[in-house]
Amino acid sequence: MTWTDQLDTCSCVLLRLGERRFALAAHQVAELAAPSRVFRFAHRTPEIDGVILRRGRIVPVCDIAEQLTGRKLTQRRFYLIATRRQQDGLDWIALPVSGECELIQADLTPASPSDSPHVSAWLSHQGEVIEVLNLYALTPGSPDPGNARLPQPALPEVRA
Protein backbone atom coordinates (compact mmCIF):
# COMPACT_ATOMS: atom_id res chain seq x y z
CA MET A 1 0.00 0.00 0.00
CA THR A 2 1.33 3.44 -0.85
CA TRP A 3 0.84 6.54 1.21
CA THR A 4 -1.76 7.83 -1.23
CA ASP A 5 -4.09 4.90 -0.56
CA GLN A 6 -7.15 5.33 1.59
CA LEU A 7 -7.18 3.30 4.80
CA ASP A 8 -10.20 1.52 6.18
CA THR A 9 -12.46 3.22 8.66
CA CYS A 10 -10.71 3.46 11.98
CA SER A 11 -11.75 4.37 15.51
CA CYS A 12 -10.08 7.51 16.71
CA VAL A 13 -10.24 9.66 19.79
CA LEU A 14 -10.54 13.37 19.15
CA LEU A 15 -8.74 15.51 21.68
CA ARG A 16 -8.49 19.24 22.13
CA LEU A 17 -5.29 21.12 22.84
CA GLY A 18 -6.15 24.76 23.32
CA GLU A 19 -8.04 25.86 20.22
CA ARG A 20 -6.97 22.97 18.03
CA ARG A 21 -8.23 19.43 17.70
CA PHE A 22 -6.12 16.37 17.05
CA ALA A 23 -6.83 12.67 16.92
CA LEU A 24 -5.23 9.56 18.29
CA ALA A 25 -5.94 6.03 17.14
CA ALA A 26 -8.38 4.56 19.66
CA HIS A 27 -6.31 1.45 20.20
CA GLN A 28 -3.64 3.68 21.70
CA VAL A 29 -6.00 5.16 24.28
CA ALA A 30 -6.62 3.51 27.65
CA GLU A 31 -8.84 6.10 29.33
CA LEU A 32 -9.57 9.75 30.02
CA ALA A 33 -8.68 10.68 33.58
CA ALA A 34 -9.70 13.65 35.67
CA PRO A 35 -7.01 16.08 36.78
CA SER A 36 -4.99 14.65 39.62
CA ARG A 37 -1.90 15.46 41.60
CA VAL A 38 1.32 15.53 39.62
CA PHE A 39 4.30 14.16 41.50
CA ARG A 40 7.66 15.54 40.54
CA PHE A 41 11.14 14.18 41.16
CA ALA A 42 14.55 14.90 39.73
CA HIS A 43 15.09 13.73 36.17
CA ARG A 44 16.62 14.89 32.90
CA THR A 45 13.84 14.29 30.38
CA PRO A 46 12.53 17.80 29.72
CA GLU A 47 9.38 16.65 27.93
CA ILE A 48 8.11 14.99 31.11
CA ASP A 49 6.31 17.21 33.65
CA GLY A 50 6.09 14.59 36.36
CA VAL A 51 4.04 11.51 37.03
CA ILE A 52 0.49 10.78 38.13
CA LEU A 53 -0.77 7.76 40.00
CA ARG A 54 -3.44 5.90 38.11
CA ARG A 55 -4.83 2.58 39.31
CA GLY A 56 -1.58 1.69 40.99
CA ARG A 57 0.54 2.60 38.02
CA ILE A 58 3.03 5.42 37.82
CA VAL A 59 2.22 7.25 34.60
CA PRO A 60 4.52 9.96 33.22
CA VAL A 61 2.86 13.20 32.13
CA CYS A 62 3.97 14.57 28.78
CA ASP A 63 2.55 17.88 27.59
CA ILE A 64 2.54 17.61 23.81
CA ALA A 65 0.62 20.88 23.36
CA GLU A 66 3.76 22.95 23.18
CA GLN A 67 5.12 20.85 20.32
CA LEU A 68 1.84 20.94 18.45
CA THR A 69 0.47 24.41 19.14
CA GLY A 70 3.48 26.31 20.42
CA ARG A 71 1.85 26.90 23.81
CA LYS A 72 1.59 24.86 26.97
CA LEU A 73 -1.86 24.15 28.30
CA THR A 74 -2.80 26.53 31.05
CA GLN A 75 -6.45 25.84 31.71
CA ARG A 76 -7.87 22.98 33.76
CA ARG A 77 -6.87 19.81 32.07
CA PHE A 78 -7.81 16.18 31.77
CA TYR A 79 -5.34 13.44 31.10
CA LEU A 80 -5.72 11.22 28.10
CA ILE A 81 -3.93 8.05 29.11
CA ALA A 82 -2.29 6.64 26.03
CA THR A 83 -0.34 3.46 25.53
CA ARG A 84 2.80 2.80 23.58
CA ARG A 85 4.02 -0.62 22.69
CA GLN A 86 7.46 -1.28 24.11
CA GLN A 87 9.68 -4.33 23.88
CA ASP A 88 8.44 -5.65 27.21
CA GLY A 89 4.79 -4.70 26.97
CA LEU A 90 2.75 -1.53 27.03
CA ASP A 91 4.07 1.75 28.33
CA TRP A 92 1.52 4.27 29.58
CA ILE A 93 1.78 8.00 29.15
CA ALA A 94 -0.59 10.76 30.27
CA LEU A 95 -1.27 13.52 27.75
CA PRO A 96 -2.82 16.69 29.20
CA VAL A 97 -5.78 17.78 27.09
CA SER A 98 -8.06 20.81 27.31
CA GLY A 99 -11.38 19.08 27.71
CA GLU A 100 -13.54 16.10 27.01
CA CYS A 101 -12.53 13.75 24.23
CA GLU A 102 -14.73 12.17 21.60
CA LEU A 103 -14.61 8.70 20.10
CA ILE A 104 -15.35 8.74 16.38
CA GLN A 105 -15.16 6.50 13.36
CA ALA A 106 -13.36 8.07 10.45
CA ASP A 107 -11.66 7.26 7.19
CA LEU A 108 -7.97 7.89 7.48
CA THR A 109 -5.68 9.19 4.80
CA PRO A 110 -2.11 8.14 5.47
CA ALA A 111 0.48 10.83 5.99
CA SER A 112 2.68 11.67 3.07
CA PRO A 113 6.46 11.65 3.29
CA SER A 114 6.41 15.44 3.38
CA ASP A 115 4.23 15.57 6.49
CA SER A 116 5.75 16.19 9.89
CA PRO A 117 6.88 13.08 11.76
CA HIS A 118 4.20 13.65 14.38
CA VAL A 119 1.47 13.08 11.77
CA SER A 120 0.60 9.43 11.23
CA ALA A 121 -2.52 10.09 9.15
CA TRP A 122 -5.26 12.60 8.45
CA LEU A 123 -8.99 12.44 8.97
CA SER A 124 -11.88 14.65 8.07
CA HIS A 125 -14.54 15.31 10.68
CA GLN A 126 -17.36 17.85 10.56
CA GLY A 127 -15.62 19.79 7.84
CA GLU A 128 -12.34 19.93 9.69
CA VAL A 129 -9.16 18.18 8.58
CA ILE A 130 -7.47 16.76 11.64
CA GLU A 131 -4.03 15.31 12.21
CA VAL A 132 -3.91 11.79 13.61
CA LEU A 133 -0.95 11.90 15.93
CA ASN A 134 2.06 9.64 15.87
CA LEU A 135 2.58 9.24 19.60
CA TYR A 136 6.01 7.75 19.12
CA ALA A 137 7.28 10.90 17.44
CA LEU A 138 5.83 13.18 20.12
CA THR A 139 6.81 11.45 23.33
CA PRO A 140 10.26 10.66 24.67
CA GLY A 141 11.69 7.20 25.09
CA SER A 142 9.86 5.72 22.15
CA PRO A 143 11.38 2.47 20.97
CA ASP A 144 11.28 3.08 17.24
CA PRO A 145 9.36 6.11 15.99
CA GLY A 146 9.96 5.12 12.40
CA ASN A 147 7.76 2.04 12.68
CA ALA A 148 4.82 3.85 14.11
CA ARG A 149 3.76 6.10 11.28
CA LEU A 150 0.51 4.32 10.61
CA PRO A 151 -2.01 3.19 13.18
CA GLN A 152 -1.40 -0.38 14.30
CA PRO A 153 -4.08 -3.03 14.65
CA ALA A 154 -6.05 -3.06 17.87
CA LEU A 155 -4.33 -4.60 20.86
CA PRO A 156 -6.14 -7.20 22.92
CA GLU A 157 -5.10 -5.64 26.22
CA VAL A 158 -6.86 -2.33 25.71
CA ARG A 159 -10.45 -2.28 24.65
CA ALA A 160 -12.68 0.71 24.03
Binding site: V29, F41, A42, R57, C62, I93, P140, G141, V158
Partner: protein, 177 residues
Protein backbone atom coordinates in the same frame (compact mmCIF):
# COMPACT_ATOMS: atom_id res chain seq x y z
CA UNK B 1 -12.90 1.21 28.61
CA UNK B 2 -11.10 -1.68 30.14
CA UNK B 3 -7.56 -1.33 31.32
CA UNK B 4 -4.55 -3.32 30.37
CA UNK B 5 -3.02 -5.73 32.79
CA UNK B 6 -0.84 -3.94 35.33
CA UNK B 7 2.67 -3.07 34.29
CA UNK B 8 5.27 -5.61 35.22
CA UNK B 9 6.95 -4.72 38.47
CA UNK B 10 9.53 -6.30 40.68
CA UNK B 11 8.35 -9.27 42.73
CA UNK B 12 6.64 -8.32 45.96
CA UNK B 13 9.20 -8.58 48.71
CA UNK B 14 9.49 -6.16 51.56
CA UNK B 15 12.66 -4.13 51.42
CA UNK B 16 13.93 -1.82 54.11
CA UNK B 17 14.61 1.63 52.77
CA UNK B 18 15.86 4.95 54.06
CA UNK B 19 13.98 8.02 52.93
CA UNK B 20 16.37 10.92 52.74
CA UNK B 21 16.14 14.53 51.69
CA UNK B 22 18.33 16.25 49.16
CA UNK B 23 17.50 19.84 48.29
CA UNK B 24 14.03 19.42 49.81
CA UNK B 25 13.19 16.44 47.62
CA UNK B 26 12.71 13.00 49.07
CA UNK B 27 14.50 9.95 47.71
CA UNK B 28 14.71 6.36 48.88
CA UNK B 29 17.73 4.12 49.13
CA UNK B 30 17.88 0.52 50.17
CA UNK B 31 19.08 0.20 53.77
CA UNK B 32 21.17 -2.75 52.68
CA UNK B 33 23.26 -0.53 50.46
CA UNK B 34 24.13 1.91 53.25
CA UNK B 35 26.94 0.78 55.51
CA UNK B 36 27.10 3.78 57.80
CA UNK B 37 25.43 7.09 58.36
CA UNK B 38 27.65 9.79 59.77
CA UNK B 39 27.24 13.43 60.50
CA UNK B 40 29.18 15.77 58.28
CA UNK B 41 30.94 17.12 61.38
CA UNK B 42 32.38 13.71 62.23
CA UNK B 43 34.38 13.74 59.03
CA UNK B 44 35.73 17.26 59.44
CA UNK B 45 39.47 17.15 58.99
CA UNK B 46 39.35 13.66 57.56
CA UNK B 47 38.44 14.69 54.05
CA UNK B 48 40.60 16.36 51.46
CA UNK B 49 39.38 18.64 48.75
CA UNK B 50 39.01 17.39 45.23
CA UNK B 51 39.10 19.91 42.42
CA UNK B 52 38.06 18.20 39.25
CA UNK B 53 36.16 20.59 37.04
CA UNK B 54 34.43 17.81 35.12
CA UNK B 55 32.99 16.36 38.32
CA UNK B 56 31.65 19.24 40.33
CA UNK B 57 29.44 16.97 42.40
CA UNK B 58 32.55 15.50 44.04
CA UNK B 59 34.37 17.99 46.22
CA UNK B 60 35.90 15.74 48.86
CA UNK B 61 37.56 12.37 49.28
CA UNK B 62 38.11 10.35 52.41
CA UNK B 63 40.34 7.36 52.90
CA UNK B 64 38.96 4.07 54.09
CA UNK B 65 41.55 1.32 54.46
CA UNK B 66 43.63 1.35 51.32
CA UNK B 67 41.01 3.04 49.17
CA UNK B 68 39.58 6.49 48.73
CA UNK B 69 35.88 7.11 49.03
CA UNK B 70 34.49 9.95 47.01
CA UNK B 71 31.87 12.18 48.54
CA UNK B 72 29.09 12.86 46.05
CA UNK B 73 26.85 15.82 46.72
CA UNK B 74 23.38 14.34 46.22
CA UNK B 75 21.59 17.56 45.17
CA UNK B 76 24.24 18.27 42.56
CA UNK B 77 24.14 14.70 41.31
CA UNK B 78 20.41 15.03 40.71
CA UNK B 79 20.72 18.51 39.20
CA UNK B 80 19.08 20.19 42.17
CA UNK B 81 19.97 23.35 44.03
CA UNK B 82 22.80 22.64 46.47
CA UNK B 83 21.78 22.82 50.12
CA UNK B 84 23.73 22.54 53.36
CA UNK B 85 24.29 18.84 53.98
CA UNK B 86 24.07 17.32 57.42
CA UNK B 87 24.73 13.63 56.84
CA UNK B 88 26.97 11.35 54.85
CA UNK B 89 25.91 7.88 53.77
CA UNK B 90 28.85 5.55 53.36
CA UNK B 91 27.64 3.07 50.78
CA UNK B 92 28.32 -0.62 51.17
CA UNK B 93 30.77 -2.23 48.74
CA UNK B 94 31.17 1.08 47.00
CA UNK B 95 33.69 3.87 46.55
CA UNK B 96 30.95 6.42 47.08
CA UNK B 97 29.85 8.40 50.10
CA UNK B 98 26.69 10.40 49.65
CA UNK B 99 26.14 13.86 51.06
CA UNK B 100 22.48 14.40 51.96
CA UNK B 101 20.42 16.97 53.82
CA UNK B 102 18.92 14.57 56.29
CA UNK B 103 16.95 11.43 56.90
CA UNK B 104 13.20 11.59 56.67
CA UNK B 105 12.53 8.15 58.06
CA UNK B 106 13.24 4.46 57.65
CA UNK B 107 10.45 2.36 56.25
CA UNK B 108 9.62 -0.61 54.08
CA UNK B 109 8.60 -0.81 50.47
CA UNK B 110 6.78 -3.77 49.04
CA UNK B 111 6.65 -2.81 45.39
CA UNK B 112 9.26 -1.32 43.17
CA UNK B 113 7.93 -0.19 39.81
CA UNK B 114 10.20 0.16 36.83
CA UNK B 115 10.89 3.70 35.75
CA UNK B 116 8.48 4.34 32.86
CA UNK B 117 10.13 4.19 29.46
CA UNK B 118 9.36 7.84 28.78
CA UNK B 119 12.15 8.71 31.19
CA UNK B 120 15.02 8.17 28.84
CA UNK B 121 18.04 10.08 30.06
CA UNK B 122 20.42 9.95 33.04
CA UNK B 123 17.57 9.17 35.43
CA UNK B 124 17.60 5.62 34.11
CA UNK B 125 21.01 5.25 35.73
CA UNK B 126 20.09 7.28 38.80
CA UNK B 127 17.12 5.17 39.83
CA UNK B 128 16.33 1.50 40.33
CA UNK B 129 12.70 2.46 39.95
CA UNK B 130 9.95 4.25 41.80
CA UNK B 131 7.76 3.26 44.69
CA UNK B 132 4.57 4.58 46.20
CA UNK B 133 4.55 5.37 49.92
CA UNK B 134 1.57 6.97 51.63
CA UNK B 135 0.18 8.07 48.25
CA UNK B 136 3.46 9.72 47.34
CA UNK B 137 5.75 8.71 44.52
CA UNK B 138 9.34 8.28 45.66
CA UNK B 139 12.26 7.50 43.38
CA UNK B 140 14.49 4.70 44.63
CA UNK B 141 18.11 5.50 43.91
CA UNK B 142 20.54 3.12 42.33
CA UNK B 143 23.58 3.00 44.66
CA UNK B 144 25.90 2.19 41.77
CA UNK B 145 24.62 5.11 39.72
CA UNK B 146 26.47 7.91 41.46
CA UNK B 147 29.87 7.47 39.85
CA UNK B 148 30.92 5.42 36.85
CA UNK B 149 34.09 3.34 36.95
CA UNK B 150 35.65 5.87 34.57
CA UNK B 151 34.82 8.70 36.94
CA UNK B 152 36.28 6.79 39.87
CA UNK B 153 39.45 6.14 37.86
CA UNK B 154 39.65 9.85 37.09
CA UNK B 155 39.22 10.75 40.75
CA UNK B 156 41.85 8.17 41.74
CA UNK B 157 44.26 9.84 39.36
CA UNK B 158 43.43 13.29 40.69
CA UNK B 159 43.88 12.28 44.32
CA UNK B 160 46.81 9.87 43.88
CA UNK B 161 49.38 12.46 44.96
CA UNK B 162 47.41 13.57 48.01
CA UNK B 163 47.85 12.09 51.45
CA UNK B 164 44.43 11.47 52.79
CA UNK B 165 43.97 11.14 56.51
CA UNK B 166 42.42 7.83 57.52
CA UNK B 167 38.86 7.84 58.78
CA UNK B 168 38.00 5.30 61.38
CA UNK B 169 36.61 2.48 59.36
CA UNK B 170 36.12 0.38 62.40
CA UNK B 171 35.25 3.14 64.82
CA UNK B 172 31.73 3.50 66.07
CA UNK B 173 29.53 4.86 63.33
CA UNK B 174 26.99 7.52 64.08
CA UNK B 175 24.25 5.22 62.96
CA UNK B 176 24.99 1.71 61.81
CA UNK B 177 22.41 0.57 59.31
Amino acid sequence: MRLATPQKSQPVRAEQIILFRASSQVFAISSASVQEVRSVDSLAGAAVEVNESSLLKVRHAIQRGDRNLYVVNAPMHFGLRPTPAALIFLLRKSRVALLVDGIEKMTTMTRLQALPGAFCHEERVWYRGVTVLDQNVVPVVNPSGFLTSEEIALLDAVTSHKNLPQTGASTQPELPV
